[in-house]
Symmetry: C2
């Protein structure tokens, strides 16, 4: 069995090799700039972990893991254009450093390269991987579309919100794991369980991240605490508080809408606490976490092989194993 | 054997069916709007023609033909953003009708759907098609990148120009044909010849199109005659005239640069004629046409099966069979 850290460094080395081989022209330069910005490389590590879980050959899963990472970075490059983001991981985004056209076109090339990385597998493996990859990728696009639409809608339900984060964030974790399983020739039921483990874990993680965005410790939380509140983002917290609040509390929401004064954060948080939205989101996150573990339990390999994934899940959700 | 027209109508029907099945959400709507704008459907017809040439089952090649058409329309959707184009086939472009973000994201989904359309083939066929599709798609991106870069460069050579049109336009014609050949289980040498037939024909066609943009009959040429001259586009005509002109002619070029007065068209055309650039581009187009036919000749099927492709090539280049 590999540790998460050893898999992450396998991926880091693969990315350096990949960029050294391909960084030859002006279309490629922004691709390798973005890939080189780092990140935890969690998604490709999941692919390798799944291959290891099912007793497959981990190095042979590296191109698929790279495909997942290149795809993920493609979504970042295009999302940053759409979100008008100036920074990515503390560095200037591609569309700011070059221009929007370059970011569109290099992103397109990146998506194609994600498919290119799958070409070395056998015909029967590609036949299994390709539809999964496509469904996952289309899901991510659909999630981004929903996220953008929610900004303009005032009638978003919590169910729709969960479906949005499932598509935008969680399906890629599930897909990354399932592809690793395919390479290890896992059975169909096990592939289903490993994918759903990733998907449920992804939803649980995103909900907890939304909670921390409002209630996290500024010392430990990577982003600015309160950012979602300042931008009136329709998260589970926001939607639950709105659904439960009385006329007076609703008036406070309305009064602060569109305002980005820092005083807004504590005022809105107090309503989130008063309506129990803060506890509600933790409860739902916990439910998805348990569902994830239930799927991991049902995978037909010995329990000791599951230890790394179980530890990873606990680590991601800041929970005890 | 099928006629070109019968294959084009097969494709037209497949597009209607495809849109009826998928046109379900806001991400899909722009995709089917663009696909529905028409066009000659030449690229998917080429895929079907190649399958027919090698005695394959034409209906079984329809998903691959659709994949080529969906990919082509993806490039149109993103190119229209990059070129800031208000119209496509006489209709409002997607980024104008919706917005840029929608055009980016629906274009991304379209590229993924192009891959999705390949999933029904056998593992061994997908294993052959996927790398070809990726190389073709990356070539098209690289061609678009070169085209955009040429606008800002003053040292473009005719060789670079031909490489740009090969990538931006011709490789997709070659790829469309080769995929049709793969589905008909053509041999490796035949696949190489059919691809190069398409590529050389594409270069020949684009050069002739550049010629017609300056010297075509306004009655018959689909676009505004002189558009390339008005925008100082560095076509083969322009580059050859610049390379051959004397100091006085160069001064005329310089004087008109950036000007879009209609009088510019006749002035620049007279230099193109005086330097023989008009004849040079026709000669090079003819050379590529002959190279294309040479590859068609060398394909190992009886000559009568090649009649449709030969007629199509002659029709595209306005030449006698």
């Amino acid at each position: 069995m590999y540790t998460i850290e050893s898999l992450q460094s396998l991926v880091a080395k693969a990315i350096v090799d990949y960029s050294a081989k391909n960084n030859t022209d002006s279309l490629q330069e922004p691709i390798h700039y973005l890939l080189g910005l780092g990140g935890k490389r969690m998604r490709p590590a999941l692919t390798l972990l799944a291959t290891d879980l099912f007793g497959g050959d981990v190095p042979s899963a590296l191109p698929a893991a790279m495909s997942i990472e290149v795809f993920h970075n493609f979504t970042l490059m295009h999302d940053d254009i759409m979100d008008n983001a100036p920074l990515r991981r503390g560095n200037v985004t591609v569309h700011e450093k070059w221009n929007t056209n370059t970011a569109i076109l290099s992103g397109d090339a990146m998506l194609i390269e994600a498919y290119q990385l799958l070409c070395g597998y056998s015909g029967s493996q590609i036949k299994q991987i390709l539809p999964l990859f496509n469904d996952t990728a289309l899901g991510v696009c659909k999630g981004q579309q929903m996220d953008m639409e929610f900004e303009k809608r005032s009638d978003v339900s919590v169910e729709e919100y969960i479906e949005m984060i499932r598509l935008k964030t969680a399906v890629l974790l599930g897909g990354a794991l399932e592809i690793g399983g395919i390479i290890a020739n896992a059975t169909a039921p096990d592939l289903e369980h490993i994918r759903l483990f990733g998907e449920k874990l992804g939803i649980s993680f995103q909900l907890r991240d939304d909670y921390l965005d409002a209630f996290g410790d500024p010392e430990n939380f990577g982003k600015q605490v309160g950012g979602d509140i300042l931008s009136d983002k329709k998260t589970y917290l926001y939607l639950t508080a709105i659904a439960r609040c009385d006329a007076h509390q609703k008036a406070v929401f309305d009064q602060w809408h569109g305002n980005t004064d820092m005083a807004k954060i504590e005022e809105i948080k107090s309503i989130m606490i008063a309506t129990g939205a803060d506890q509600a989101i933790l409860d739902v996150s916990q439910q998805y976490y348990e569902e994830a573990l239930n799927h991991l339990d049902r995978i037909n390999v010995t329990d000791d092989r599951k230890a790394t994934l179980r530890a990873l899940a606990a680590h991601l959700l800041h929970r005890e194993v």
